[in-house]
C-alpha cells in the first residue's frame, strides 16, 4: 500500500491553471515528501488555494500532471478518486462543517461512508478525535454555529483526521484566530504529525506558523513555485520573497522562533 518511500507523496509537474484570460499558475512544479510539513505561501490571489484544490481533484488544470501516492489524480475515474480520498483529509478555510449536524456527526460522516462500524464504536472514535484536537468533551454534541471560529477549525481538523489519513491539507488554518489560539493550533499540528506520522500540506499567510512548524516552504511568485527550506528562502533575493520574510512581520516571526535576527538591521524598513 505505501508507495516507494523514495518517491514523493505528492508530485506536481508543469501545472497550468487559467481562469478566463487570467493565468494563475504557469508551470508549477512541486514535490512533497512523506512525513514533512510543507508550507505554501504567496500573496492574496496568487493561487494557493487553487493549487490545493487542484491536488485534491476539485479543480481541473489546463495542463500539467498531479500525482498523489504515485497515482495520477487527473486521469482517474471518480470511483478511483474516492478510493484515494480516504487516504487524505482536508480542512477548508472556515472548517466547512455541515451545519445541520453536530460535531460528532460531522466526524462520523466519513467513517460511516467507508466502513461498516457499530454505532457505539463510531461514537467512541469520534469522541477520541474530539479530544485529540483539543476540544472539550461536550463539543461533540454541539452544532457548528454554537462554536467559536477557533473551535470550528479544530472540529474541521477532527473531521479531516477521522479516517487517520496519510496527508492532511490545511487551507489557512490559523487565519482569523487570535494569536494564542493560532499558536495552540500550530502546536496541535506538530503533535499530531509526530504521533500520526502525517504529511501536512499547509496553505497559510501566517508567518509564525511557517517558522514554527514547516520543514520546507514553497512560495508562489510569478505564477511559479520556489521551494526550499526556510534558510534557503531567507537568502532568496526575489523582491517579493525578500519583503515577505524580511518585512517587519517576517522579522518579528523569525525572532520569536529563533531568537536571532537576520542580517537586516532592526530599524531599517524593508522594501514593501
Amino acid at each position: 500500500m505505501p508507495n516507494d518511500p523514495g518517491e514523493p507523496i505528492i508530485r506536481v509537474r508543469g501545472l497550468v491553471n487559467r481562469f478566463g484570460a487570467e493565468t494563475v499558475h504557469d508551470g508549477v512544479d512541486l514535490d512533497v515528501l512523506r512525513g514533512e510539513v510543507i508550507g505554501i505561501v504567496g500573496g492574496s490571489g496568487s493561487g494557493k488555494s487553487v493549487l490545493l484544490r487542484t491536488i485534491i481533484g476539485l479543480n481541473r488544470p489546463v495542463e500539467g500532471k498531479v500525482k498523489v501516492f504515485g497515482r495520477d489524480v487527473l486521469r482517474m475515474t471518480d470511483r478511483q478518486l474516492r478510493q484515494l480520498e480516504h487516504r487524505w483529509g482536508v480542512l477548508f478555510q472556515d472548517g466547512a462543517l455541515f451545519s445541520s449536524l453536530t460535531v460528532a456527526q460531522n466526524i462520523e460522516i466519513p467513517i460511516k461512508e467507508y466502513y461498516d462500524m457499530p454505532l457505539r464504536l463510531m461514537d467512541e472514535i469520534s469522541a477520541v478525535k474530539v479530544s485529540m484536537v483539543g476540544l472539550p468533551g461536550d463539543a461533540g454534541e454541539k452544532y457548528p454555529s454554537q462554536l467559536s471560529g477557533g473551535m470550528r477549525k479544530r472540529a474541521g481538523l477532527a473531521r479531516a483526521l477521522a479516517l487517520d489519513p496519510e496527508i492532511v491539507f490545511l487551507d489557512e488554518p490559523t487565519a482569523g484566530l487570535d494569536p494564542i489560539a493560532a499558536g495552540a493550533f500550530d502546536e496541535l499540528i506538530r503533535d499530531l504529525r509526530a504521533s500520526l506520522g502525517l504529511t501536512v500540506f499547509l496553505v497559510t499567510h501566517d508567518l509564525d506558523s511557517l517558522f514554527a512548524i514547516c520543514d520546507r516552504v514553497a512560495v508562489l511568485v510569478d505564477k511559479k513555485l520556489r521551494v526550499g527550506t526556510l534558510e534557503e528562502l531567507l537568502k532568496d533575493n526575489h523582491p517579493w520573497i525578500h519583503s515577505y520574510f524580511h518585512g517587519p512581520r517576517g522579522r518579528a516571526a523569525q525572532y520569536s522562533e529563533t531568537g536571532v535576527l537576520t542580517e537586516q538591521k532592526t530599524r531599517s524598513v524593508a522594501p514593501m
Binding site: T102, P118, S126, V128, V130
Partner: protein, 378 residues
C-alpha cells in the same frame, strides 16, 4: 493483508497474557471491537498486554487498546503493556492524553413523547403569534418609511424601482404567459368535457371568463411571482444580511427600508396588475383556442358569448386584488430576508418560508376578497 487478532492465554496461575497482532487500523476496528467485546475478561489477575505482534496502528486501534486496558483495570486486574514498538508510543500517548472519552449524545427530537408533542404545539402556536406580531411591526415600519418618502418624493430611487420592475415584471412575462395559457387550455378542455353531457357546451365560455378573470388569472400571476420574486427578495436581502451589508448601509446613514424594501415593494405593486392583465388575456386566448378545437366554438362566437356572460366588474374584481397580493408577497419576501441569521443555511430556510408564507397569505386574502365581494353581492 495480515489478519488481526486479540487472543487471551492463561500463562501461569494468576497471570494472563493478551496478545494483539496484525493491523490495528480503522478499517479493522469493527472486527476488533466485536472480538474484544466477545472476550471473557479475567478478574483480579495480572494481565500482560503483549503488543509485539502489532504491525500497524492508528488512532482507532490505539483507542481500542486503551479501552481494553481500561476495561481490564476496572475489573481489578493489574495491567502491564509490553513490547510496544517505539514508533507507536507517541500515538498511544496522544490518545491516552485525551483520557477515557465519553461519546457525545446524539440529538433526539424532543417531541417523541406525548408531553413533548403538546409542548411542541404550544411552541409553534406561540411562534406563529410572535411572527404575526413581528410582520405587523415590519409593515408599520415600511408604512412609516413610505410616508416619509411621500413627503419627500425626490428621495424615491427611480433607478432601483425601474430595475426591480424589469426583474419582477418584464422578465416574468414569458413564464406567466405560458402557464396562464396552459391553465386556459386545461379549463376549457375539462369544462367542455363535463358541460357537453348536458348539451351546455357554450357555457364553457362562461366558465372560462368568470374563472380566469375573477380568480385564476390573478392567482396564477401572484403564485408565480411569489415563487419567483418573493423568494428572490428574501435571498437577496438575506445574503446582504449574511455579508453585513445591511449593517454597512445603516452605518453609512442609509435606511435599508428605503433603499432595499420600498423599490421592491413599489415595483411589485406596479407590475403585478400588469402581469395579471397579461395572464387574463393569454388565459382566455388559450381557452378560446381549445374551445374552437374541441367544441367548434369559433373566436367570434367565443367573444360574443364572453361579452354576454360577464358583468362589467368581473374583470375589475380580479385586477383589484393584484396590488394587495403584490403587497403581501413583497412584504413577506423582504421581511423574511431581514430575519436571516448570519449563516448561509438560514438564507435557504428563510427563502423557503417566505414562499410558503406568501402563497398561504395570498390564498387567505383571496378567500377574504370572495367573502367581501359576496357580501357586496357582486
Amino acid at each position: 493483508m495480515a489478519s488481526v487478532a486479540a487472543t487471551l492465554v492463561e500463562a501461569e496461575p494468576g497471570s494472563v497474557v493478551l496478545t494483539a497482532t496484525g493491523e490495528w487500523l480503522v478499517a479493522k476496528a469493527a472486527e476488533l471491537d466485536r472480538r474484544l467485546r466477545a472476550m471473557q475478561m479475567p478478574r483480579d489477575k495480572r494481565v500482560i498486554l503483549d503488543l509485539s505482534g502489532i504491525d500497524r496502528l492508528d488512532t482507532a486501534g490505539a483507542w481500542l487498546l486503551l479501552r481494553t486496558e481500561h476495561d481490564l483495570a476496572t475489573r481489578g486486574n493489574a495491567v502491564e503493556i509490553r513490547n510496544l514498538r517505539p514508533n507507536f508510543a507517541p500515538l498511544l500517548d496522544q490518545v491516552r492524553a485525551g483520557g477515557m472519552v465519553v461519546p457525545a449524545r446524539h440529538p433526539r427530537p424532543a417531541h417523541h413523547t406525548i408531553a413533548g408533542f403538546i409542548a411542541r404545539i404550544g411552541e409553534v402556536t406561540l411562534g406563529l403569534i410572535a411572527r404575526a406580531y413581528s410582520i405587523l411591526g415590519f409593515f408599520g415600519a415600511v408604512c412609516e418609511s413610505a410616508g416619509a418618502l411621500l413627503l419627500r418624493p425626490r428621495r424615491l430611487r427611480i433607478t432601483a424601482l425601474v430595475a426591480q420592475m424589469e426583474q419582477t415584471g418584464v422578465n416574468a412575462v414569458p413564464i406567466v404567459g405560458l402557464l396562464s395559457f396552459l391553465i386556459g387550455v386545461v379549463i376549457a378542455y375539462q369544462g367542455a368535457d363535463q358541460l357537453r353531457r348536458f348539451g351546455a357546451d357554450i357555457y364553457t365560455v362562461n366558465l372560462l371568463g368568470v374563472g380566469i378573470l375573477r380568480e385564476l388569472g390573478v392567482l396564477m400571476a401572484a403564485i408565480i411571482i411569489a415563487g419567483r420574486s418573493g423568494s428572490a427578495f428574501t435571498a437577496q436581502i438575506g445574503t446582504m444580511q449574511v455579508n453585513e451589508e445591511i449593517d454597512a448601509l445603516r452605518t453609512i446613514g442609509l435606511d435599508p427600508l428605503e433603499v432595499l424594501v420600498l423599490p421592491r415593494l413599489f415595483g411589485l405593486v406596479l407590475t403585478l396588475p400588469m402581469l395579471t392583465l397579461w395572464a387574463d388575456f393569454v388565459g382566455l386566448f388559450g381557452g378560446c383556442l381549445m374551445s374552437w378545437a374541441s367544441l367548434g366554438i369559433d373566436p367570434p362566437l367565443f367573444l360574443q358569448q364572453l361579452r354576454a356572460s360577464l358583468y362589467p366588474w368581473t374583470f375589475w374584481i380580479g385586477l383589484i386584488k393584484a396590488p394587495t397580493f403584490a403587497l403581501i408577497i413583497g412584504l413577506i419576501g423582504c421581511y423574511e430576508g431581514f430575519q436571516v441569521a448570519r449563516s448561509a443555511e438560514s438564507v435557504g430556510r428563510q427563502t423557503t418560508l417566505s414562499v410558503v408564507e406568501a402563497i398561504f397569505l395570498v390564498i387567505v386574502a383571496d378567500a377574504g376578497f370572495s367573502i367581501f365581494f359576496s357580501a357586496l353581492q357582486i
